[in-house]
Symmetry: C2
Subunit: 181 residues, 2 copies
Amino acid sequence: MRADAARNLSSVLRTGARLLAEDPSTSMAAIAAAAGVDRTTVHRRFANREALLRAVFQAKLDSAERVLDEARLTEAPVPVALHRYLEGIIPVAREWPVDTRRMMQKDPEASARREAQSARLSTFIQRACDEGHLRADIDAAWARAVLDALVDSIAHQFPAVDAPQAADLVADAFLRGLGVT
Amino acid sequence: MRADAARNLSSVLRTGARLLAEDPSTSMAAIAAAAGVDRTTVHRRFANREALLRAVFQAKLDSAERVLDEARLTEAPVPVALHRYLEGIIPVAREWPVDTRRMMQKDPEASARREAQSARLSTFIQRACDEGHLRADIDAAWARAVLDALVDSIAHQFPAVDAPQAADLVADAFLRGLGVT
DNA sequence: GTCAACTGCAACATTGATGTAGCAATAAAT
DNA sequence: ATTTATTGCTACATCAATGTTGCAGTTGAC
């Protein structure tokens, strides 16, 4: 593969992710146009629409997996691991804004990978519960859902907040809440 | 209009909202089939796809508006109004799970109504800030986003939790967070 | 019982998206 | 300079979704 080909492929993936996030039914033609390449070129790279989606998901899963690895969720102290995870995952959510939960259902392989990553995070949340970092009356599944919701919110609705500050905001809201206590 | 016609219309709207929430590109044929009516019947009720979407949005906006009215966001004490709003809005989110922010962009009228409702809630959040119910370092827009995220999360990912308990969970996570302090 | 409204069904036209193939032009690699 | 890979463009076939029409059957209202 030549250099320009690789550049085009990556451009299509990123542009596609952005457009598909706004409108999951965005046409291949629209993605190609936004990426600045011809429609047929996209079809040469990706056998069909599914293949394009799979490639986008895989790119997101790759990035997310790297973040999970580097956060050392099982070894590092909970507050440290949490912050490292947040600082890593927020840029991933921004770069690949596609909603993996909804759009990957037809792709069993990607779905399985996603489940595995989800399980790693859930295990971490459970550890946070067990080690007393969360209140005893908090359900682990609820805590997990809250964390995901906060990440998505800061990632997509506040793109101007840089990753370290965003991680602070999320960790703070997650652990302390927003009210005066 | 006869009784069965009204029943069918309402059934199409609710079924459509449910399917469109899972997959915004769900076909009219799929919605009609899930609602148990013929495809042409749906076309008789709604001139086109846009009209069907508009009707769904309008139904959601009507319900949400009623909740905002009854919560007395400007008069009632903040904690009371917050809880009343949550207990009302969570069933609305569940009954009409469509993502209004994304899907109403092509409908300026509905978009304007949505903006107006959004502004009412933002004003309420601002009052909560001003009256000292939120920490002084909390940005009102961030607080607003967190509240929305928590509502969506409990509404869609924990459908088994009933509305009063769900409202408690959200208000608690919003004000106090999940961590030990 | 009659009438009006409503429905399902079949058929049809239209449109937009998808996917393929061929060909000429271009640019990197050798 | 020649080869090779890649691209844009055009044309085409296909398919799924949309929207319309006519007709016969059913059901509620009067």
